[in-house]
């Protein structure tokens, strides 16, 4: 008898038995997504359910998925990064200007873009973690600074003509019928999930975010961890910028700004699912596609373009409220004791 019990336990894993309600909460976002697809599929079966439409959604929105993943790193460590949109613009513009305008080989242009993102992240991190300035304000400043820099770099013009190799590698070439860009996002998501859940580094980041004083009094190097988190988000946001240059075949100077809010909406909405109450990569990626499905569906049904902002804004407020609520609930027991 006792052996069976032990077996059951280890089969279930670290968490105690999952109640149906908890299971529903975890998969709520996936269910909502499927429901949205079904709804739009019924309302507009020909357009919405076409495979071309799906491939477009998955491929083009990889940019947003990667940007949301970039955001997760500092969010997990308890810091906001508002410069990710600026980094995205900068990175895609560097690729476009170097490759299309100056004929620099694509590989070098991409490396330069990634290097620039890492540098911006490192500067953000230095201000936030080393000098103790609120990262919310610092990254608001650097993000705006970068937008200005991008306008200067591009002379306020959209630049096109980036080598086809990039757009092939991001959007044209497919695997299992879906653009490669999507798979880059999935690979990044897997890597982040493994790092967050299965490495000491990931666990430490989690403690830095959830109990900064506990982490400090346990001997963690807070400065290095927070600095590293912001630098990493700069690097990944730059990668999102490279994907964006691939999707559009160039760069336009004001593109990044429209990504900031959706990325936050996805990160917070994702924190209500899969591992409720915690920023998690799978939740964020699913949230991105749920939001994009909603927007696409509404557009196909003939909604005006202003609907997009209304939709994302509403989603962000709801998502933050939901994740606050689910965090408080998981922390409520702590307050009672």
């Amino acid at each position: 008898m006792s052996t069976t019990q032990t077996d059951t336990r280890s089969a279930i894993g670290r968490r105690p038995a999952i109640s149906p309600a908890a299971l529903l909460e975890r998969s709520g976002l996936v269910i909502a997504w499927i429901a949205a697809i079904a709804l739009f599929g019924i309302l507009s079966p020909d357009t919405f359910l076409s495979s071309a439409n799906f491939s477009t959604i998955f491929g083009s929105q990889a940019v947003l998925a990667v940007l949301a993943l970039a955001l997760l790193v500092p969010l997990t460590a308890g810091d906001y990064d508002l410069s990710i949109a600026g980094v995205l613009s900068l990175s895609s513009m560097i690729v476009a200007v170097l490759n299309a305008k100056h004929g620099v080989p694509l590989g070098i242009a991409i490396l330069a873009a990634l290097g620039a993102g890492l540098l911006v992240g490192a500067v953000n991190g230095a201000f936030a973690a080393l000098f103790g300035v609120d990262p919310f304000i610092v990254t608001l400043g650097t993000g705006t600074l970068l937008q200005g820099l991008v306008l200067w770099l591009s002379s306020s013009e959209t630049i096109s003509g980036v080598s086809d190799t990039l757009s092939n590698a991001v959007i044209t070439d497919r695997f299992l019928g879906i653009s490669l860009g999507f798979w880059y996002g999935i690979v990044l998501c897997v890597v982040m999930w493994v790092v967050f859940e299965y490495t000491p580094l990931g666990r430490r980041l989690l403690f830095v975010g959830r109990g900064r004083r506990v982490a400090a009094l346990s001997g963690f190097n807070l400065r290095r961890l927070r600095w590293g988190a912001l630098a990493t988000s700069g690097l990944i946001a730059a990668f999102a910028g490279v994907l964006y240059a691939g999707v559009t075949g160039g760069a336009d100077p004001s593109s990044g700004a429209s990504f900031l809010l959706p990325a936050y909406a996805a990160a917070f909405l994702g924190a209500t699912a899969i591992v409720p109450g915690r920023f998690n990569p799978w939740g964020a990626v699913i949230a991105v596609y749920f939001l994009v499905t909603g927007i696409t569906g509404l557009t196909i049904l003939g909604a005006a373009s202003w609907v997009q902002d209304v939709f994302y804004g509403t989603a962000l407020v709801l998502a933050v409220s939901l994740s606050t609520w689910s965090r408080r609930r998981s922390g409520a027991a702590a307050a009672d004791a």
Partner: protein, 546 residues
């Protein structure tokens, strides 16, 4: 003299526990009335009833002869002519002196428009009235000295009452002096005396008998929620007060020789600390041996609670520490990360904020400092984490022993066992504890004591800072009593009982027991007992000069 405030038969229970049991208190017009008692004696419950925060079960209240209905509405004390100044002072450091003085009026929203010129003039006048003309009303409160801030808080409370035209206000001072430097405290006493001379009464809550003898006319002493007695200060001695507070005849407090002779026999100290200084600690030397539990205690504000933080590097300090025969290290360079590498562990007192993260699982919390040991290749083994957590849970009697549960869903005692396990699994060379069994039920307390003694038996050197005398008596082999940032006494195992420790702590700011009768001399003028001038410890005086 008229009676200004009269409380009769005040009782209050929380659950089954009686915090106040038929307590009487009367404060006369124009007196400074001391309210004394140990932690948990019911002082704060009584104050909270007066502030309208707690509803008493029974009791009557009369102010200036007029009965007032209990429970008081929150804030009703002000209409009765009472004002409170708490230990934290309630000032906003970023705002100016003037803004702080008028903050209550701003909250009340009486004025339509502020005329700053006249506000500053009024503030200046108010400060000058209390002999504080030197304080600039435009200065930021943060730029004032600690003492000036305390004076400002008191003046603000009095001036708010003045605006309500109470001829005989009652000012409740709730340990405002605990964290103040001793230098210049006479100025605060002068301020209080001046208020009383102009018709105010003061209810003065403190642990410091020196201050009682210096400032109070009469005292009311609470013990275990009951009235232990009322005394006229002029007619009593510090001995008499200690007896009232602790509740037994005072045995002669013979000053024991510190165990200098046995120190040598015990071999090399695990941790030698010299000239330790921090915000309140002002030159402490100590030696900590493997296998012993050394207690550190004192009155609130004496600095004892700072000691483990300084030795862990989590608060800025000065001095040197030496571990075993390793080279001496400057305290300035100690950081928690470095301390952990050196094998120093620290269980902080504020569990929800400092000790553990309630929203994360037991397994996450208990393994957070040993993650590297659970790696298989580059990745963490979930199984190893879970098994270790379960095994530690069994060893430390965590109940329920379910590693996947959020830590916050366990009882306080079980949470603390998890925090203890998190550090003890490392077999620390030095274990620093800050009030390790605060807010923990009786059974968990026993189990935590066992865990701590077990760690000492396995060779850890344990230092425990606490104001819980029962805990200290149960745990410690030696006990250092800290007053004004210095070690003033050292007690040994056979001298440690709850009452005994209370007596020593209560008299720690005054003369040695034999000289208590002379303790009534003004503060800051008589000689202070400190490790420097106690002849028993010549070897301890080197690092401590001021």
């Amino acid at each position: 003299m008229d009676t200004l405030l009269e409380i009769t038969g005040l009782s209050k229970s929380f659950g089954g526990a009686r915090a106040l049991d038929a307590v009487d208190l009367d404060v006369r017009t124009g007196e400074v009335h001391g309210l004394l008692g140990q932690n948990g004696s019911g002082k704060s419950t009584l104050l909270k009833v007066l502030a309208g925060f707690h509803q008493p079960d029974e009791g009557r209240l009369a102010v200036r002869g007029e009965p007032a209905d209990l429970p008081l509405a929150p804030g009703a004390y002000r209409e009765l002519g009472m004002a409170f100044v708490h230990q934290d002072l309630g000032l906003v450091p970023d705002l100016s002196v003037c803004e702080n003085l008028i903050v209550a009026r701003l909250g009340a929203g009486v004025q339509k428009r502020l005329r700053w010129r006249s506000e500053h003039a009024r503030a200046k006048e108010a400060l000058a009235r209390h002999g504080l003309g030197e304080i600039d009303t435009r200065a930021q409160v943060a730029s004032l000295s600690q003492m000036q801030r305390a004076l400002l808080a008191i003046v603000r409370a009095v001036e708010e009452l003045r605006e309500d035209d109470h001829a005989h206000p009652l000012l409740v001072l709730d340990e405002p002096t605990a964290f103040l430097p001793r230098a210049g405290i006479e100025q605060l006493f002068e301020l209080v005396r001046g208020l009383v001379a102009r018709g105010a009464s003061v209810l003065f809550v403190t642990h410091d008998l020196d201050e009682v003898i210096e400032l109070c006319d009469r005292v009311t002493v609470l013990r275990d929620g009951r009235l232990a007695g009322t005394a006229v200060v002029r007619e009593t001695t510090a001995d008499g007060l200690v007896e009232l507070i602790v509740g037994r005849r005072l045995a002669a407090l013979a000053q024991r020789e510190p165990a200098a002779a046995t120190d040598a026999a015990r071999g090399l100290a695990r941790l030698r600390v010299q000239g330790l200084r921090g915000r309140y600690v002002d030159g402490i030397d100590l030696e900590l041996y493997p296998g012993e539990v050394l207690g550190v205690t004192g009155l609130l504000g004496s600095g004892f609670e700072e000691v483990p933080h300084l030795l862990f590097g989590s608060r800025p300090g000065h001095g040197t520490v030496t571990l075993d025969d390793e080279p001496a290290m400057a305290v300035e360079r100690l950081k928690p990360g470095r301390a952990v590498e050196l094998g120093i562990a620290f269980v902080p007192s504020d569990r929800p904020l400092d000790g553990a993260v309630g929203a994360l699982s037991v397994a996450d919390n208990v393994t957070m400092t040993t993650l590297a040991e659970h790696r298989r290749g580059p990745l963490l083994s979930r199984r190893s984490l879970r098994d270790t957590a379960r095994q530690l849970g069994e060893q430390f009697a965590v109940s329920p022993n379910e590693p996947g549960m959020p830590l916050g869903s366990l009882s306080g005692g079980n949470q603390q066992k998890v925090v203890m396990a998190k550090w003890l699994q490392r077999d620390p060379r030095v274990l620093l504890l800050d009030q390790p069994t605060q807010g923990v039920d009786v059974q968990a307390r026993r189990q935590l004591f066992d865990a701590i003694s077990g760690a000492a038996r396995r060779g850890s050197a344990v230092l425990c800072a606490s104001a819980d005398y029962e805990e200290l008596a149960a745990l410690c082999d030696r006990l250092l009593i800290v007053a004004r940032g210095r070690v003033v006494r050292e007690l040994r195992r056979d001298e440690l009982s709850k009452e005994r420790i209370a007596e020593h702590v209560l008299t720690s700011t005054t003369m040695p027991a034999s000289d208590l009768a002379e303790a009534a001399q003004p503060l800051g003028q008589g000689p202070r007992v400190s490790s420097e001038n106690s002849p028993e410890a010549p070897s301890r005086s080197r690092g401590a000069t001021s």
